[in-house]
């Protein structure tokens, strides 16, 4: 049958592909995240390196320019000296001028061909060899080539800074006249030519043979990360300009942006993980729910109790297979239908409508019995339990009813009752049978004997008549006497059986009706409960007692009450009331047994007290007959009349004996 719930379909918790893509993306994202700062750092590093190289070139240019300017000045001076147009004082003046213009120059000398100083600035020439020994080589080379040459830098002196000489030979034609020697303090050279902003960021060194001969490190030593070396390319001297940035390599995560991106990425990962966990939990919950659903569906399908859900308008929203089986209709023909339903039996339609109206009004009988009609027309007694259907928001959305097919139970009850009745009937029959078989046995003997005697006598008579011989009376007499005796015996037997059935002599005693009823109330209630009959008694307290055999009166009363109760088996439960009313009328105590049952038809009433007349299938027809005999035995009367409220009144009257006042 069709279930209102989605059929449980198998799920696979994540095929590999479904998870591969996000994982790959996350991995890629992480790789990019790692690569980006590295790339940024690389770029920054390259940029810095290039900047350094450019700056270093610039510094080199500046130094070279300065040196070239001084070379040009010396060259001009040499030209003047060759022309010999200058006095000593003028030379001195020019030298001083040079020194003043170039702070990097520590000393400018004019040497003659033999190396003696002719003029010097600053004045106060050092005596003796004016040059450091290693500078001699450069001087000689300059003299040989005729061009200016630089010497290798001399180590630093106490004055500070290493010194380097520039030798410019002076020739007049082929005649060597001497030379001009400019001594540079390399430290000062750096100080003068390197701009402050460059010195701020870099340690600048001059190297000769990889040894530092001058250095400017205003901002501290370089870190060796960004370095550049540039040879100054001076004739005669191999000096290298080396720069070393004080800046360290750029940090891996230098900026907030990358940091926050990574933070966000981490957050993303975290939330992704959380999402995944949530999804997994949700899937597990769904799975559990689905299993629960399957379990419930299996449970509903296995039930023999019918289930039917209706909304507040009475529309059927759900039925289980058991319900379909009970009413014999498929679920498709039930779900979505509104009353009147196909399984309502026409004869109880009013009851359904009434109940349905109360359902619409929001009140349903929680438990009731009714009858359904199957599709094949068969009636099915059912027991229905109704309970409100509460939605998840706590509001009532309809009614849930469970329907029990109680045909089996009813059948069993009916069978039980029938068997009970049969048992009672057969018990009665058995008693009758016992009595009759006893009678038959006891009577057979004398009757057989009588028959034999008389047959024999007839034989004798016949023979005598046939032969014409005289009849021998003496022969016949004993046989006929015997026959007579046996006939009397038969009569005695019948009398004794009567005595046996009667069992005992009635025993009269003073009995109050209240006492009589109380004595058998339990028995009456036992019968009444079986047929759901209520008992009411109305017995005046001042009622006089009657003189009667208690057991006989009890039998009469039980018989009448049983008849009354059984007469009401077919009427509505509300009418099933048995009343026992006593009264004192005209010197007689009357007891009425009043039922509200089916009443008595006139033709039945005529024969009511006849023996062996019964309206009951299993009745012996002895009850009322015996009752009347018993009442008449006590000098009373038993009568019946129709109950104005419907039903019958049986009333017996017995002579009462009013208590003397």
């Amino acid at each position: 049958m069709k279930s209102p719930f989605a059929p449980p379909r198998p799920i696979h918790l994540g095929t590999p592909w479904r998870w591969l893509l996000p994982v790959l993306l996350v991995l890629l994202f992480l790789a990019v995240l790692l690569w980006l700062p590295w790339q940024a750092r690389q770029m920054e590093s390259n940029e810095r390196q290039e900047q350094l190289i450019a700056d270093t070139l610039w510094v080199e240019q500046t130094i070279r320019l300065e040196l070239t300017r001084n070379e040009d000045a010396l060259d001009a001076l040499r030209a003047d000296l060759v022309a010999n147009s200058l006095s000593g004082a003028a030379v001195q003046e020019r030298l001083a001028q040079m020194l003043k213009n170039g702070h990097e120059l520590q000393r400018v000398l004019w040497l003659d061909a033999r190396g003696r100083a002719l003029a010097s600035s600053p004045p106060g020439l050092p005596a003796g060899p004016a040059l450091a020994p290693d500078s001699g080589g450069a001087a000689q080379l300059a003299r040989d080539t005729g061009n200016g040459r630089y010497s290798d830098p001399a180590p630093a002196t106490a004055h500070g800074g290493a010194l380097m000489n520039y030798h410019l030979p002076i020739f007049s034609g082929e005649h060597y006249l001497g030379s001009l020697v400019a001594t540079y303090n390399l430290k000062t050279l750096l100080d003068e030519t390197v701009p402050w902003w460059f010195a701020q960021d870099n340690a600048i060194s001059l190297l000769a043979d990889d040894k530092i001969v001058a250095q400017r490190a205003a901002a501290g030593m370089g870190r060796g990360v960004y370095t550049h070396k540039r040879p100054l390319d001076l004739p005669g001297a191999s000096i290298v300009l080396a720069t070393d940035s004080v800046k360290s390599a750029p940090r891996l995560l230098p900026n907030l942006l990358v940091g926050s991106v990574i933070l966000l990425a981490l957050g993303l990962l975290l939330s992704l993980g959380a999402l995944w966990r949530d999804v997994a939990r949700r899937l597990a919950a769904e799975d559990a729910l689905r299993q629960q659903m399957a379990f419930r569906t299996a449970m509903e399908n296995s039930l023999v109790t019918g289930l039917r859900a209706r909304d507040l308008e009475g529309r059927v929203t759900y039925v289980n297979p058991a319900f379909c089986q009970i009413v014999g209709l498929p679920a498709e023909e039930l779900v979505g239908k509104v009353p009147p339903m196909a399984y309502w039996a026409p004869e109880v339609m009013d009851e359904y409508q009434q109940r349905f109206a109360s359902v619409l009004a929001g009140t349903a009988t929680p438990q009731f019995e009714t009858v359904f009609q199957r599709s094949d027309g068969q009636r099915i007694p059912v027991l229905i339990f109704e309970a409100p259907l509460i939605g998840s928001d706590g509001r009532q959305t309809g009614w849930m009813g469970s329907i029990l097919d109680i045909s089996d139970r009813k059948r069993a009850e009916d069978l039980n009752r029938q068997q009970q009745e049969k048992l009672q009937a057969s018990a009665r029959l058995a008693t009758m049978g016992e009595i009759s078989s006893m009678l038959a046995h006891e009577l057979n003997q004398p009757l057989a004997a009588i028959s034999s005697y008389t047959t024999g006598a007839l034989n004798v008579l016949g023979r005598a008549v046939g032969s014409g011989a005289p009849l021998d009376a003496a022969l016949l007499k004993p046989a006929l006497e015997q026959a007579s005796a046996q006939a009397q015996r038969a009569g005695q037997i019948i009398r004794s059986v009567h005595e046996f059935v009667k069992k005992r002599e009635p025993e009269r005693q003073q009995i109050s009706v209240q006492n009589l009823v109380d004595g058998i109330r339990a028995l009456i209630e036992l019968q009444a409960r079986k047929f759901f009959v209520a008992i009411q008694t109305h017995i005046p307290p001042d009622l006089p007692p009657v003189s009667a055999d208690r057991m006989m009166l009890e039998q009469v009363l039980l018989n009448l009450t049983r008849n009354a109760i059984e007469a009401m088996a077919g009427v509505a439960p509300a009418r099933r009331i048995l009343r026992i009313a006593a009264a004192f009328e005209n010197g007689q105590v009357t007891v009425s047994v009043i039922d509200r049952g089916h009443g008595i038809e006139p033709d039945v009433a005529e024969r009511l007290f006849s023996p062996f007349f019964s309206t009951k299938a299993e009745g012996m027809g002895m009850g009322l007959s015996i009752c009347r005999s018993a009442i008449e035995f006590h000098g009373g009367t038993l009568s019946h009349s129709a109950n104005p409220e419907g039903g019958t009144i049986f009333k017996f009257a017995l002579p009462g004996q009013p208590t003397p006042a």
Partner: protein
């Protein structure tokens, strides 16, 4: 002789009276034991019949019949059962086992007596047959041989030749046979042994 076995005296008396009215001798027995003690001792030449009440205290009718059967007396003592209502199947069963008849109470008295007379006749014949057999048993072997040849219709001479004895001897045997079989002529003998 009609043997009435019933525990009820009035029944025994009335049936005996009935039997006498039909000229049948009758005798009552108050119990099965009383009857069994005297059963067949002696048999009545006029024939015997037993009326057995099925229901009796102590040994019931069927048990009595069974004992009679066991003693081989049912041929000489035909049994008629008197049954009450409900005993019919049991009675039918005994009928199959050789009871003469059964009557369900109440019964027609003269019908019963008719059957009693028939039973007496059967018993009488059975008694006669038994008597002949008893007489035959007294014959010697040679006498039996002679008897067989006489019954075959042979003359004395032929018998003598066949048996290799003298005519005279045959005549002696013949006289002995007639004497022992209590007959006077060969025709009578043949009728007896028919």
């Amino acid at each position: 002789m009609l043997h009435i076995v019933d525990d009820e005296e009035v029944i025994r008396d009335s049936l005996a009276w009935l039997a006498q009215s039909r000229a049948i001798n009758a005798r009552g027995y108050a119990s099965a034991h009383a009857f069994l003690e005297q059963a067949g001792a002696p048999f009545d030449a006029e024939g015997d019949c037993v009326l057995l009440d099925v229901r009796m205290p102590g040994l019931n009718g069927v048990a009595v019949f069974d004992q009679l059967s066991a003693r081989g007396l049912t041929a000489r003592l035909p049994v008629i059962f008197l049954t009450g209502h409900g005993d019919v199947p049991m009675a039918v069963d005994t009928l199959k086992r050789g009871a003469f008849d059964f009557f369900e109470k109440p019964f027609n008295d003269n019908d019963l007596m008719d059957r009693v007379e028939q039973a007496l006749a059967v018993s009488r014949q059975a008694g006669e047959a038994a008597a002949v057999q008893a007489r035959l048993a007294t014959l010697s072997t040679r006498e039996r041989e002679v008897l067989d040849l006489i019954l075959a219709g042979k003359m004395n001479k032929v018998v003598a030749d066949k048996l290799g004895i003298s005519m005279r001897t045959v005549e002696v045997h013949r006289a002995h046979i007639f004497d022992k079989m209590q007959v006077k002529t060969a025709v009578e003998l043949a009728g007896l042994l028919k």
